[in-house]
């Protein structure tokens, strides 16, 4: 038998095998479309993990439908939405306050059908978009993170970062991240400025520079810096600090005299989605007391927005209720957003080596 014939036979066999595999495969794909999986976004890291473990199973239980989760930073999500307005890649998105307001101003979101989101009733009015274009599903608290082995006396104010004993030990995070921006605003407010008057904050950074050991490109990198002993003190989120603690890193979070800071995140239904009702059900699940209760536990420590959820564990040392969260240092993103690019530019130049 010639070699060519053998090859041909193999090819026929391979094609047959492909067909056999393909048949059930196409069935699966067809079914997946029939089931209409909801496309949702979350943030990378602990957020994705918690949403996969807690939110998705609860959503499946509540609706019998499944959701496909994509991890994407809020600003990246914003870019993806503006790039495909008519046929959006997601049905429901998770946003930080800043990008959420940009999305609202660009008309990217659809009003929530309130009848489909009954859990909105358990939210303080401040946690719901005035036009119903989304709701705050969670909050993250930030304070002064410090290495408990190297710093015996807990810091009590952001001004402590200026102490000469911390020379080369302070970590900064770039203004590209939400954390970097809100911290700068918190500094400005502590020193008599606000979102539109950031000179006091930039002046603080200038005085702080001799103490700065490293500037992290994002909050995740800040955790690595603590882990490696590159820095001993900086601003950071409670959930990152708690997860470092769980890994055995000697780090704790202290309350600044000017109060804890709060960063909230929203969920929004994307305009032109074909599954608005299902997206509403997804948000409703994220707002439910059961889901938010589980998210407050270790290792996530996400602050709830639902007033029915009691504050437990590490969160109990910080606040007792979601109304108490309201008193924490927050940012007027509507004021800050238009100025953001300018502040990023100024920060670039002033922290340059």
């Amino acid at each position: 038998m010639s070699k060519i014939d053998l090859d041909r036979r193999r090819i026929v066999q391979a094609l047959g095998a492909l067909g056999a595999v393909g048949l059930p495969l196409s069935g699966v794909i067809g079914n997946a479309y029939a089931a209409e999986s909801l496309a949702a976004t979350t943030f990378p890291g602990a957020w994705e993990e918690s949403h996969r473990k807690i939110l998705l199973p609860a959503f499946r239980k509540a609706t019998g439908q499944s959701a496909t989760l994509t991890a994407s930073q809020a600003v990246d999500t914003l870019t993806k939405l503006t790039g495909a307005r008519a046929n959006p890649p997601f049905d429901v998105v998770m946003m930080d306050e800043g990008p959420y307001l940009i999305g609202v101003s660009q008309g990217l979101f659809e009003p929530m059908p309130t009848s489909k989101v009954p859990n909105l009733a358990d939210l303080p009015a401040k946690f719901i978009d005035p036009k119903g274009l989304g709701a705050y599903t969670s909050g993250q608290v930030y304070g002064i993170a410090y290495n408990t082995e190297k710093i015996k006396q807990a810091p009590t104010s952001w001004n402590d970062l200026l102490k000469p004993q911390f020379k080369g030990r302070v970590g900064l995070v770039g203004l590209d991240s939400t954390l970097g921006l809100v911290w700068m605003v918190a500094l400005a407010k502590m020193l008599g400025g606000d979102e539109a008057h950031m000179d006091p904050a930039f002046d603080f950074i200038r005085r702080l520079m001799p103490n700065v050991g490293a500037v992290a490109a994002n909050p995740g990198a800040l955790g690595t810096l603590f882990q490696q002993g590159q820095i001993d003190i900086s601003c950071h989120y409670i959930n990152n600090v708690e997860s470092l603690k769980a890994k055995g890193v000697p780090v704790a979070l202290a309350r600044p005299a000017s109060n804890w800071g709060l960063v909230r995140s929203t969920m929004n239904i994307v305009k032109n989605t074909k599954m608005a009702d299902l997206a509403a059900a997804y948000i409703n699940t994220a707002l439910s007391a059961e889901v938010q209760q589980q998210m407050t536990a270790a290792p996530y420590f996400v602050a709830p927005t639902n007033t029915k959820v009691p504050f437990g564990g590490a969160l109990a040392q910080i606040a007792q209720s979601s109304s108490e969260l309201e008193s924490f240092v927050q940012v007027d993103w509507a004021k800050l957003n238009p100025l953001r690019a300018g502040y990023i530019d100024r920060f670039n130049r002033e922290v340059k080596v």
């Binding site: 490293a214 500037v215 992290a216 490696q228 002993g229 953001r340 690019a341 530019d345």
Partner: protein, 291 residues
């Protein structure tokens, strides 16, 4: 059916058929490289972030500011330093590979390729761990009593060059080894026979003949180094700014697409200029070798 195809291929249309084979790639290239590039250029020609007024403002804005020019220079400088390090480190390795027996070539090749076989994120994090304040280098130096407090290694331009050189090294060694093994060994034998010292032989015979490999290696390493977003960001930290991160920051964080597009175009043109100069240099050396 198959006989028809065969006749066609054998016929005068063979050349046309060959061109036809490049059609899928050409269409792909046109749709996913040429058109987006044209769009990028078009976006960069707008004066405001909302893209309502056309003009050259973004380019003027970039070049009129010494901070921006500094970022361009340090990015190109990063490419030059990385390429130089790769040449210095890679030439002996390529030489060793070419002059070793077939038996040793296989394990050597594996060693050369090793950096390419791990993900660039993993390799980069390894450097972050090695160069940190409590990293391997500082601990060894401290244990030897050479330093009292940790030396700042991470988040310095030297650290970025070092880690890029390690990651890009195979791209320099492989073309160099190819060029070196293509050199007729009788040429250096002749040089020796005519009384030249080994160094003189290397300088006058081997080095000029290996220039083509050196040039293609330089091209690969330089373009790789100036656009290495992950390494530049993780090893360079938030205080060192290079063009790729600047593009990302202006587009995604500052939502200033025209400026980001202009930075991207400026980086692209700068790289093109370098590539053209290298090609020109390559042609010159060919003339030198044959002349």
């Amino acid at each position: 059916m198959s006989s028809v195809v065969r006749t066609r291929v054998r016929g005068s249309r063979r050349i046309a058929g060959d061109w036809l084979l490049t059609l899928p790639l050409s269409v792909f290239f046109l749709a996913f490289v040429a058109v987006p590039l044209a769009l990028l250029a078009a976006i960069s020609l707008h004066n405001d972030a909302a893209m309502t007024h056309a003009g050259l403002h973004q380019y003027a804005r970039f070049f009129s500011d010494s901070y921006n020019r500094g970022i361009l220079w340090s990015t190109l400088g990063l490419g030059v330093w990385t390429t130089a390090s790769c040449i210095v480190l890679g030439y002996p390795v390529a030489w060793l590979y070419v002059s070793s027996s077939a038996h040793w070539r296989r394990p050597l090749l594996l060693c050369i390729l090793l950096p390419l076989l791990t993900s660039s994120v993993v390799r980069t994090f390894a450097w972050v761990v090695i160069l940190g304040n409590e990293g391997l280098v500082n601990q060894v130096l401290a244990a030897l009593g050479l330093i009292g407090s940790p030396v700042k290694l991470l988040y310095t331009p030297a650290a970025v060059v070092l880690s890029l050189a390690q990651i890009e090294l195979p791209l320099m060694v492989l073309p160099l080894a190819t060029a070196l093994s293509a050199i007729d060994p009788r040429l250096s034998e002749a040089s020796h026979a005519l009384g030249a010292s080994p160094w003189r032989t290397w300088w006058r015979v081997t080095l000029p003949l290996s220039v083509p490999g050196l040039l293609s290696g330089t091209l690969l390493v330089f373009t790789g180094a100036v656009s290495a977003f992950v390494v530049q960001t993780l090893v360079g930290g938030g205080q060192l700014m290079y063009m790729p991160f600047y593009i990302y920051q202006q587009a995604i964080q500052s939502q200033d697409y025209p400026f980001a597009a202009a930075i991207a175009m400026i980086l692209l043109v700068s790289i093109l200029v370098m590539v053209t100069l290298l090609n020109y240099g390559g042609r010159k050396t060919k003339g030198f070798i044959h002349g």
